[in-house]
């Protein structure tokens, strides 16, 4: 779920910062309202709010612009990781804070259909990331970089339910992909990555996860951009 126009928080016009509701992720509505403990921003309690079939996982938080700040991002990530232990999550972009429950409910209503569609595709699955990096000062691995890339993609695609190639943001990257993997097949996937890393020991392989399926859920609510699930 990504913000529509005017959804990201900013301070009030008079410069004061009120308290809003920060959304970490969305889960299927549990039978009873759930608390995940005081692990939110500023030690606030993280809890669910019921909304039809879904429940946003939220905490009270200051209405402000949530900029790139490693500590804040860590709080967001830690909460989502905690929720992921028991639930399939629909991730929400970092920095989504709503002024009140009513505005949150409007967004939830607008995105309900898209969320139903999205949760089906990511149910019981997790995202795993694989980056393959050339060693320092090596440019093309004697022309074997393409072969290596296709070996990785071929072997890992067999296990993953879905793959998403991501931007090669560094000259040293030869592969940067996210894989949507069934929770029961994570070990198979890890073994395959380990095997490939051994085979290409000259390369550096960065394997990360499990993450919520950030790269496989793209819901734009009340925004101009059309794409992903609607």
């Amino acid at each position: 779920m990504k913000p529509g126009k005017g959804k990201r928080a900013g301070g009030a016009k008079d410069g004061t910062q009120g308290v809003g509701i920060y959304v970490y992720c969305i889960i299927r509505c549990p039978e009873v309202m759930k608390s995940f403990g005081k692990v939110g921003f500023g030690g606030e309690e993280v809890y669910t709010i019921e909304h039809k079939d879904f429940a946003p996982v939220v905490s009270n938080a200051i209405m402000k612009e949530y900029n790139v700040d490693e500590e804040d991002i860590e709080v967001h990530k830690a909460v989502v990781s905690e929720v992921m232990k028991e639930h399939t999550v629909l991730p929400v972009a970092y920095g989504m804070v709503f002024k009140n429950k009513k505005l949150l409910a409007v967004s939830m209503k607008a995105g309900n259909k898209a969320m139903k569609k999205a949760i089906k595709s990511v149910d019981n699955k997790v995202e795993l990331g694989v980056k393959v990096v050339l060693p320092k000062d090596a440019r093309d691995l004697d022309g074997k970089a393409d072969q290596c890339k296709s070996d990785f993609v071929e072997a890992l695609n067999c296990i993953a339910a879905e793959t998403k190639p991501l931007k090669l943001f560094s000259d040293r990257l030869i592969l940067n992909s996210s894989f949507l993997v069934d929770s029961g097949r994570v070990d198979d996937f890890s073994n395959a990555v380990g095997k490939l890393a051994e085979e290409y020991s000259v390369l550096k392989v960065q394997y990360s996860g499990p993450w919520p399926p950030y790269n496989f859920v793209d819901i734009q609510i009340l925004g101009n951009k059309r794409g992903g699930f609607r």
Binding site: V68, V133, K167, F169, S170, L173, K204
Partner: protein, 93 residues
């Protein structure tokens, strides 16, 4: 005063060279800002990756990260500048 916006005139098939030039400059500027923003974001990611791979010390990482974050904030401001302000100002006269 009714001012016909350059975008509108282009949409109906004719253009006013002066306004067209402004529009073109604005577009060039917008894409330059966007490219700069994307480039800094890539550098931030690369920085993090190198740290995680053990090719940078914690101190080196923190130093270059805070510099890049500062640059990103500036680039964000430049990218999000509302370029239609020019026409709004003219229209309000």
């Amino acid at each position: 005063m009714l001012l016909i916006d350059d975008l509108l005139t282009r949409a109906v098939g004719f253009s006013i060279p002066g306004l067209d030039m402004f529009w073109l400059f604005e577009q060039v500027l917008y894409f330059a800002h966007k490219e700069m923003y994307d480039l800094i974001k890539d550098k931030l990611k690369e920085n993090r990756m190198l740290y995680e791979l053990g090719e940078m010390t914690g101190e080196e990482y923190m130093k270059s990260n805070s510099l890049l974050v500062r640059q990103l904030k500036l680039a964000e401001k430049a990218r999000d500048m509302n370029l239609s302000v020019r026409t709004d100002i003219l229209a309000s006269q």
